[in-house]
Symmetry: C2
Subunit: 208 residues, 2 copies
Amino acid sequence: MRISDLSRQSGVSIPTIKFYLREGLLAPGTPTARNQAEYDDQHLTRLRMIRIMTTVGQLSLSAVREILVAVEEKGLSREGLCRLLSRALAEEPTVMPPEPVERAAAQERVDEYLDHLGWRVDPAGPDRATLGRVLAALQALGWAGDIDAFAPYFRVAEELATQELTATPGDVVNDETAIQFVAQALLHEVALVAIRRMAREHRATLTP
Amino acid sequence: MRISDLSRQSGVSIPTIKFYLREGLLAPGTPTARNQAEYDDQHLTRLRMIRIMTTVGQLSLSAVREILVAVEEKGLSREGLCRLLSRALAEEPTVMPPEPVERAAAQERVDEYLDHLGWRVDPAGPDRATLGRVLAALQALGWAGDIDAFAPYFRVAEELATQELTATPGDVVNDETAIQFVAQALLHEVALVAIRRMAREHRATLTP
């Protein structure tokens, strides 16, 4: 198909497609004439994927680029893809406060707890640090709890992750399935957050 | 305490405190001399709350302002606070794609499902729309599932929300407890997302 058909079928404007081509997010089409190229279904799929990640998934274009480049260069495992997505999401601009002493203690509790559960999680990954910060922040707000209070979260998260990974195709056989895996993980996360917010609103109307 | 003590104890710089004062995010102190004012523990608590919401909670300053203003003007119920937080979070800049036909069908399924569950959720709230978009996006990626596939998410989210709301003080007796309620909801959400990402990474190493 021509670029105009690609644009029509994907809903992405021609200037945006040209921008993605220049930035290497989309592979060039097959040249057919001077200033003309032929695109196929793979281009359409890739374009849909980029669009979903940046809109519904709210990833920045630089995070999407990081994912696409890593997938193409390294052909990652599912575990590698999970780490990649965590890093890409954590890359979003955030101003973190200077770390107080309590933060170190909270972080230690988080790391101990993960060890205790036997979870294999990147020691340098951003999610451990995020959880340490949350724990320190809750304690700074006068909350007397400890990481144990999050036990139901750990249980539920593991349950959902197991279901999802069983439901998603196990093999990351090529770049497209790898990117699809990342996009699905991202969309499931957006869904979980939205559902949790609604659950909270609903329960708040019921719980005295 | 003086502004310098407030800064030392909160870890927020004096220029930032002055900015919050000018913007009305922080109530003025009691004037003690020309260009001097006395601050108390309420100022310290409020300052910590603003800081946690903008850093660990990753809310924009305008979203924090929206929350503080609404709390002060309306003294909301817990349900109202949940809606307020959802709207403040959804306010973050996002470029949404034009809505294809499939989006309307997906949205209808989401609304039907919420009715079927009997969840009382703001009909104009942003989370319904987010979930409709996720469903349409997953279907656009070739996923054959329906909203039913998210049944475990709904179950788990309701379970967590019930636990949290039981654990948090039920009464939103004043502005400070209201803001604390919002900050805790926000922190719990950040924790859930981090834990879910780690669970996924961990399970990806185990699930073949």
